[in-house]
């Protein structure tokens, strides 16, 4: 089987042809920060709310099972280096996400990282993050990761309340996430993050407070707090549809958000993106910042998304299909799009407005700027920043960010 990217028409045919990047995209490569994402599509069980591309079976097919996965991912890494070559860009960040990356032996994750170092130049201050589930790390595995070059770990804690963890189908015990964070620190990780989910059915203000306190008791320099989203097709969505569980209430979610911001800020963690808090600039997740700045990244793995010079593509979703493509030397992309100037303008506002640093008013149309002035009057944008030429969300503005993005891009 040979594949073509729809966006590119009938030619060129991939495998792995550097010509898949047009001259304009290629020209942007040397001057744009570049990150690597590695998707690990495995979980021990699927959490009821989760619609990420992840699989619980370990019999997915040749090249797609856990034991072979690192080798398959490395095959795509090699393809990436070929396409971006002959002088591939310097890697400034690496993010291994999932799924549950730590379901793979730590040595496998390190092997992928090692191969990346062989194929690409790497920045001296490279940030290398892995996501991890609290129950799937040990002091030993953390030590291997740290020694192999990982600098940052992001643990999925979600909640400290047992009944909330149960509603979310999480497997770890309430104290385990904080313990894993301490183990990571002890193993020498400079940066430790905990992920939280708020607004789950049955969660009370007190539960949420307990979770926030548990986070603050752990040695973290970063916290991500996400509002529970009932995604279509998930078990959670079915339970809500059947009336077994209530739909999260927007007002409650707003309360929780404000509560989180208050508590985290009190402990010295400041927001730098709508859902992310950090102790200082150095603690921010640089890989995510790279996404939000619409820089360049290559996503390795099934379903992973990439962006280089206005060209976006995404891989086939199933690990077996993905592995098969690579095994026959084809490109694993399932589809692609070329961003139009309108797309870019919209994304710039959509991503930039969510940041603490905000967005230059020059990124807006005339109409958008007029609406920005109106948003200042309505208390959603910061007046001082506005006077200085930037659109920066106020505290209430953060909770209405999407509405504001729609207003500003009308």
């Amino acid at each position: 089987m040979t594949t073509t990217l729809p966006i590119l028409g009938d030619t060129p045919t991939l495998p792995a042809d550097p010509s898949m990047l047009d001259d304009a995209a290629r020209a942007a490569v040397p001057t744009t920060p570049f990150g690597l994402y590695v998707h690990v599509p495995f979980c021990a069980t699927r959490c009821g709310y989760c619609d990420f591309n992840t699989y619980t079976s370990d019999e997915l097919g040749p090249g797609a099972n856990r034991s072979e996965y690192a080798a398959t991912a490395i095959a795509e890494l090699e393809l990436a280096a070929r396409v971006l070559g002959p002088e591939p860009p310097e890697i400034s960040t690496v993010f291994v996400g999932g799924g549950t990356p730590t379901l793979l032996p730590a040595a496998d994750l390190v092997a992928v990282l090692d191969r990346a170092r062989q194929l690409f130049p790497v920045a001296p201050d490279v940030e290398v993050t892995t996501e991890a589930n609290p129950e799937s790390v040990t002091p030993e595995s953390l030590a291997v990761l740290r020694a192999g070059g990982f600098t940052r770990i992001s643990l999925g804690m979600q909640s400290a309340a047992p009944h909330v963890l149960a509603v979310l189908d999480r497997r770890h015990t309430p104290g385990r996430a904080a313990a894993a964070a301490r183990e990571a620190r002890a193993a020498g990780f400079e940066h430790v993050n905990l992920d939280l989910i708020y607004g789950a059915p049955g969660e009370t203000d007190a539960d949420w407070d307990l979770s926030l306190q548990a986070v603050l008791d752990a040695p973290v320099d970063h916290v991500s707090a996400y509002a529970l989203i009932v995604e279509q097709g998930t078990k959670l969505a079915r339970r809500v549809a059947r009336g077994e569980l209530p739909m999260p209430d927007d007002d409650v979610l707003a309360d929780r958000y404000e509560q989180a911001d208050r508590v985290l800020r009190g402990a010295g963690l400041e927001w730098y993106e709508v859902s992310n808090w950090a102790t200082d600039r150095a603690a921010r997740c640089r890989h995510n910042e790279l996404y939000w700045a619409n820089a360049h990244w290559w996503g390795i793995g099934p379903g992973a998304h990439s962006h280089v010079g206005g060209l976006r593509w995404w891989n086939v979703k199933h690990p077996a299909a993905y592995a098969a493509r690579l095994a026959e030397g084809s490109h694993p992309a399932a589809g692609a799009e070329r961003l139009t100037p309108e797309d870019v303008a919209l994304e710039t506002v959509m991503l930039g407005l969510r940041l603490r640093d905000g967005l230059a008013l020059t990124a807006l149309s005339d109409a958008g700027r007029a609406r920005a002035a109106d948003a200042v009057a309505r208390g959603l944008l910061d007046p001082e920043a506005h006077a200085a030429g930037r659109a920066v969300l106020t505290d209430p503005g953060r909770l209405l960010a999407d509405a504001l993005v729609r207003d500003l891009t009308d």
Binding site: F95, Y257, E337, L346
Partner: protein, 616 residues
Amino acid sequence: MGSTVTAPARTDPARIRNFCIIAHIDHGKSTLADRMLEVTGIIEARQMRAQYLDRMDIERERGITIKSQNVRLPWSPREGEHAGVEHVLDMIDTPGHVDFTYEVSRSLAACEGAVLLVDAAQGIEAQTLANLYLAIENDLTIIPVLNKIDLPAAQPEKYAAEIAHIIGCDPDDVLRVSGKTGEGVPELLDRIVERIPAPTGVDEGPARAMIFDSVYDIYRGVITYVRVVDGRINSRDRIKMMSTGATHELLEIGVISPEPKPVEGLGVGEVGYFITGVKDVRQSKVGDTVTLQHAAATEAIGGYSDPKPMVYSGLYPVDGSDYQLLREALDKLLLNDAALTYEPETSAALGFGFRVGFLGLLHLEIVRERLERESNLSLISTAPNVVYRVEMEDGSEHVVTNPSDWPHGKMNAIYEPVVNATVIAPSDYTGTIMELCQSRRGSLSGMDYLSESRVELRYTLPLGEIIFDFFDALKSRTRGYASLDYAEAGEQQSDLVKVDILLQGEAVDAFSSIVHKDKAYSYGVMMAGKLRELIPRQQFEVPIQAAVGARVIARETVRAIRKDVLAKCYGGDISRKRKLLEKQKEGKKRMKMVGRVEVPQEAFVAALSNAEPTKK
């Protein structure tokens, strides 16, 4: 057919019987007509399909007759005075629903007799009476018939007695048939020949024919159905419309048997059709008299008045850019529906649309469905309203067909249309029905027992109350046993007010309604409550008020939204986020703006449609 005496244009009027079948909705008129087509042999069994004469898609889907249909049938009675002599029966199948009563009345004018059909399991119902009285007014000979005697639930004895009681005949005179099995149908045809008078008319005089229906066909133009009263019309004649003096060449003249068949001409007492090439049913008006251009008659046959719209509603395209398409679709429908009226109107909330007049709610529903289906439109209709007449203190007068045109200033008197309504139901429900009618400002004008267990109640009711879910309320309170009929009965002076609905202080014209003073409050509370559920939260608080003039009578609030942000981790999948945003922006475009408030289309549809009764 063979016999020359029954050939079109040469039929001896003594051999003609013109009749229609009238009944309450669903009592089996069209099915009985099917059996008549079969036993008279004009249709072979293999060509047969149920309700053969319901020719429109919408009739077949809904299983109801909307347009009358006529058919010429040959029949030789098997016994009696006329045994063995071939006759011509011109049968007209009519609709049963109250909205189409005018169709029945025009059919009656073409006949000397009527078969009054009554479902033997249901008995007399409201439209049975209404149609019976129409037939009596037209001086027709009535042949009472019980249908569906094959049903196990049939009670022919009981209902024969009911019928006899009403029309003053002997219960034994009530024929019994089954439209399903065909039982009794030949006997019925014999009875028709025996009892219904033959048409009389002046054979030699100037031709006069009465138009009783006029239908637009996309291939053939307008097809005009006539009953010849005097003289003859031949295929080569030029005809003249007596109301306008317009003359036309005949392209075709014929009879329906059961499909159109061109003939040489039509003579005294015959029923048939002609085609002249005109494109608009208004050029061939129902009730008009047709004569010949040369040798024209001087006096028209007394016609009947145009159907008058009883109910108005605003129709708006959901997508404003479909306005032109809607206009074309209405123009097209108008060619075929003389009862439809419309004119352009503008709504601040809904944009450009039309105020359309209908015969009733079923008519509204059917027109709307045909517009949507035949022109692929999606429409919003405002809550239906009746026509009001307002006399101002300064002596001026306003006729209001749209609540938002309600006049300002001092009013002397307000008039609303009323109807004479008939409700027939098991007598157990008498109290319940009286309560309902009273709560709808009805006044009892009479009451009769059809039999020990069934009662007929007659009320004068404001039409505006009837079109506001009266029928649903009646059905649900009588477990479906009550039937309703009504007919215009002039107007009455009433204490009416206009209730406005305001969003953030701005009146939404599409939600304004004219209601009785005593109901303003409950209407206001109901509408405000409904809108509170339907209007999505905005970035600011939205007060919803119901007001009569400057006086606020009900108030609700849609609280400001506090959270409108997706706080989840999408990683590198930026496209997903952008697509979500684009979808939201699309949705925002489809919102109607009321001041700063974004109101989704669905909110209009839901708010307006629930306030409107569902189908009968």
